[in-house]
C-alpha cells in the first residue's frame, strides 16, 4: 500500500520537525526523569554492589544500609567459626566531620574495610594504591567529591573528626547523589576515627523461670580528652570494638538460606541479608519512605503524563488536518481497518523518529553529567527498551484517540468545499 502516513508526515517538513521536537522533548523528559530516579536508587546501594559478599550480617535493628546499629567485633570472630563460612570480613561505616586545610568543613561517611580483604573493594582506583591504606591515618576519596571536600590532589593532609588524615588515593564510581561523600580507609584507621572512646560488651543474663540465656550488646562511652593528637598508630581491633557489617562469603556448596539461619542463631542479635535482600530493603526505603524517592518518582510520572499529552496533541492535530483525506478514503471504500492502519503507521513513525534522537540526546547528557558529577543519571538497556515501549504505547494510545475523530467524521464531508 502507498504509505500515505509517511508521505503526509514528510509533506510539510518544518511542521514535521516541530512535531518531532515535541515528541523528542517528551521522550527525553521521561528518560531523564526515570534516569535520575534510577541513578538515585542505584546510588543508594552502590556500596552493596561493590562487594562480593554473599551475606551481609548486621544488627537486627537495620532499617536500610546506612541506618543500623553497630555490632561488636566478637561477632565477626564468631562468624568466622560458623561452618559454611568461607570468609568473613568486617565493615565499619559511620558519619564524621571533614576539615580541609582550606575551605569549609564537610559532613562525610567513613567506610572502613580490610584493604587486603576480598569482600569489599573500592570500584575503581584511579590514583594511589590500595596497600597505602595500611599506613596509619590514610584515606582515599572519590574524584567527583573533590569539590565538596575541598581537596584536589593526593598528598593533602586534612583532619577527620579529631585526627589527622592524609589523602593517598582517588577512586571513581563510588559517589552518592543523596548522601555525604564516602571516605575510604582501613578498618583499623576507621576504628581510630570513629570509635575513639566507644566500647561494647555483650551482657547475658538468665531471666527468672527461663532456661534460655538472653544476651544483648551494650555500648559504653569512655572518657577521653577530645582533640587528642595521635600518640601512636591506630591499634588493632579487639573483640569489644564495634563494626557495622560482617561481610560473609559462603563455602561454594553452602546454601545461603541455611547459612543465614545458622549465622542468626550463632551470633547475638543479628540479621543476615543476602546481597539482593539488602539492596531491595535499601532501595525500598529510599523510594517509599523518603521525600526524595517520592519526588523523583513523581517527576518520572509527570514525564510520562506530559509525554502522553504532547504526543496526543500532535497526532490528533495532524489527523484533524488530514480529516478530509480520511473522509475521501472512506467514501471511496477504505475499510475502518485500512484507516486505522494508516493512523497507527503514522503514530509508529512519529514514535520511532522521536525516540531515536531523544535517546541519543539523553545518552549524551548522561555521559556528560556522569563524567562530572558521578552516576547521577542511569539509562540502562532495560530502561531504554521500557521507554521505547512507553513511547510506542503513548503514540498508539494517542492514535486510538485520533481514530475516534475519524470515526465520527460525517462521510458527506467529502463534498464540502
Amino acid at each position: 500500500m502507498v504509505s500515505l502516513a509517511r508521505k503526509n508526515l514528510l509533506e510539510d517538513i518544518p511542521r514535521f520537525l516541530v512535531a518531532q521536537a515535541g515528541i523528542l522533548f517528551a521522550v527525553s523528559l521521561i528518560t531523564l526523569q526515570t534516569g535520575i530516579f534510577m541513578g538515585f536508587s542505584q546510588s543508594t546501594v552502590k556500596l552493596i554492589n561493590n562487594s562480593s559478599a554473599d551475606l551481609w550480617v548486621t544488627s537486627q535493628s537495620l532499617v536500610q544500609l546506612e541506618l543500623t546499629l553497630p555490632i561488636p567485633v566478637s561477632e565477626l570472630i564468631k562468624a568466622r567459626n560458623v561452618s559454611g563460612v568461607a570468609r568473613a570480613e568486617g565493615l565499619l561505616f559511620s558519619g564524621a566531620q571533614w576539615y580541609p586545610p582550606q575551605g569549609e568543613m564537610a559532613r562525610i561517611r567513613v567506610l572502613g574495610f580490610d584493604p587486603s580483604g576480598q569482600l569489599y573493594r573500592p570500584p575503581e582506583i584511579v590514583e594511589g594504591n590500595l596497600k597505602e591504606l595500611h599506613q596509619p591515618y590514610t584515606v582515599m576519596i572519590n574524584t567527583t567529591d573533590e569539590d565538596s571536600l575541598n581537596v584536589s590532589e593526593t598528598g593533602v593532609e586534612v583532619q577527620m573528626n579529631s585526627l589527622p588524615a592524609k589523602v593517598v588515593g582517588m577512586t571513581e564510581g563510588n559517589s552518592s547523589m543523596i548522601s555525604n561523600p564516602f571516605i575510604m580507609t582501613s578498618l583499623k584507621n576507621a576504628n581510630a576515627y570513629l570509635n575513639a572512646g566507644r566500647r561494647s560488651q555483650i551482657e547475658c543474663q538468665l531471666p527468672q523461670g527461663s532456661s534460655q540465656l538472653q544476651c544483648i550488646n551494650k555500648f559504653e562511652e569512655i572518657e577521653e580528652p577530645a582533640n587528642a593528637q595521635p600518640s601512636s598508630e591506630p591499634r588493632d581491633l579487639v573483640a569489644s570494638d564495634i563494626i557495622t557489617f560482617i561481610l560473609v562469603k559462603a563455602e561454594p556448596e553452602m546454601e545461603l538460606s541455611s547459612l543465614k539461619q545458622k549465622l542468626e542463631k550463632n551470633l547475638t542479635q543479628v540479621t543476615a541479608y543476602t546481597q539482593q535482600e539488602l539492596i531491595e530493603k535499601t532501595k525500598t526505603y529510599w523510594q517509599q519512605r523518603t521525600g526524595i524517592g517520592f519526588i523523583l518518582g513523581l517527576g518520572a510520572l509527570v514525564g510520562v503524563i506530559v509525554g502522553v499529552v504532547v504526543v496526543s496533541q500532535i497526532l490528533y492535530s495532524s489527523v484533524a488536518d488530514h480529516l478530509k483525506e480520511f473522509g475521501t478514503l472512506k467514501a471511496m471504500g477504505a475499510s475502518a481497518g485500512m484507516i486505522y492502519r494508516i493512523i497507527i503507521e503514522q503514530a509508529l513513525w512519529m514514535a520511532v523518529l522521536g525516540y531515536l534522537p531523544a535517546m541519543i540526546l539523553c545518552f549524551g547528557v548522561a555521559y556528560v553529567i556522569n563524567n562530572n558529577q558521578g552516576q547521577l543519571l542511569v539509562i540502562s538497556a532495560e530502561s531504554a527498551i521500557a521507554i521505547f515501549a512507553v513511547t510506542i504505547i503513548m503514540c498508539i494510545g494517542s492514535a486510538i484517540f485520533a481514530i475516534q475523530k475519524v470515526n465520527r467524521v460525517d462521510p458527506a464531508i467529502v463534498f464540502k468545499a
Binding site: 500500500m1 502507498v2 475521501t328 471504500g333 462521510p411 458527506a412 463534498f415
Partner: protein, 243 residues
C-alpha cells in the same frame, strides 16, 4: 428526458432491474437545526439506466449534494430506499455499504480531494490498493489509468504542480480505478476554467460511452447539458419538470 415517475410498486422488477442502475424511492431527508427538523428532500423518486449520463441540476441549497450523498450510501435518508445495481443499499450495514462503494462506485469532487502528499500516480495507486491491487501491478495499472486521461507524463508530479484541469483528470483516473460501474460526480467542472471544464466534460462522456459506465453528475454548469442523456432539476427539495 426522464423524470421522477418511477413505479410506485415494489422495486426491483425482474425485467427492469437489469436495465436500471440507480433507483431511489420516496427519499425524504430532514436535517436537524437546533430544535427544528428542516426538510431538505421531499419524497423523491428517481432512476437512471445503465450506461447513461444523468445530470442533476438546480440552484444552490436545493439539496443536490445531499441527494447525491444518499444515492452513494454516504448519508442515510430519513425515509426511503436506494437501490444500486439491484442491491438495496439503504438496508446494508455501514461496513457493507463501504464495501459496496469500494467495488462499485467511483467519485469525483468539485475540489478534487487529491492527497497533496502523494504524486499523481500514487493518488491513483492508493485507491487501487484499497480495491485490492498491490505493488507493481497497482503501479502499472495506475500508469494505464493516467494514460486514459492523457496524463501519462505527469505521474510523478504532486497535485500542487498540476493545473486545475489536470488535477481533475487525476481525480477521474482515480474514479476509474477498478472500473466501477457507477461514477458519481459533484460539480466536477465548477472549479475549472471553461476550456478545462469542456475537456473534463468531454472526457467523462467518452469514458462513459466506452466503458458503459453509469455517470451521475451534479452540476450548475450549463455546458455539461450537451452530454447528458437525462437532466433532472431539483428545487427546494423537489423535482421540477421543465420544457
Amino acid at each position: 428526458m426522464l423524470f421522477q415517475s418511477s413505479p410506485q410498486s415494489n422495486f426491483p422488477h425482474a425485467q427492469s432491474a437489469s436495465q436500471i442502475s440507480i433507483c431511489a424511492e420516496h427519499i425524504t431527508m430532514f436535517f436537524r437545526s437546533g430544535r427544528q427538523e428542516i426538510p431538505i428532500l421531499k419524497e423523491l423518486n428517481w432512476e437512471t439506466n445503465r450506461g447513461s449520463i444523468a445530470l442533476l441540476m438546480g440552484p444552490s441549497g436545493s439539496g443536490k449534494t445531499t441527494f447525491l450523498s444518499i444515492l452513494a450510501g454516504l448519508l442515510t435518508p430519513t425515509e426511503g430506499n436506494v437501490y444500486l445495481l439491484g442491491q438495496e443499499i439503504t438496508k446494508l450495514s455501514r461496513k457493507k455499504r463501504t464495501a459496496f462503494r469500494r467495488q462499485h462506485i467511483g467519485f469525483i469532487f468539485q475540489n478534487f480531494n487529491l492527497f497533496p502528499a502523494l504524486t499523481a500516480a500514487e493518488n491513483v495507486e492508493i485507491i487501487l490498493n484499497i480495491k485490492g491491487l498491490q505493488g507493481k501491478q497497482a503501479r502499472y495499472e495506475a500508469q494505464l489509468l493516467l494514460e486514459q486521461v492523457g496524463l501519462e507524463l505527469y505521474g510523478n508530479q504532486k497535485p500542487r504542480d498540476l493545473s486545475g484541469g489536470q488535477k481533475q483528470r487525476v481525480a477521474i483516473a482515480r474514479a476509474l480505478a477498478g472500473s466501477p460501474p457507477l461514477i458519481m460526480a459533484d460539480e466536477p467542472t465548477a472549479a475549472l476554467d471553461s476550456q478545462s471544464g469542456h475537456q473534463i466534460t468531454e472526457l467523462l462522456r467518452r469514458l462513459a460511452k466506452e466503458k458503459g459506465t453509469t455517470v451521475l453528475i451534479v452540476t450548475h454548469d450549463p455546458r455539461i447539458q450537451d452530454i447528458a442523456d437525462y437532466i433532472t432539476y431539483l428545487e427546494d427539495g423537489r423535482f421540477k419538470p421543465t420544457n
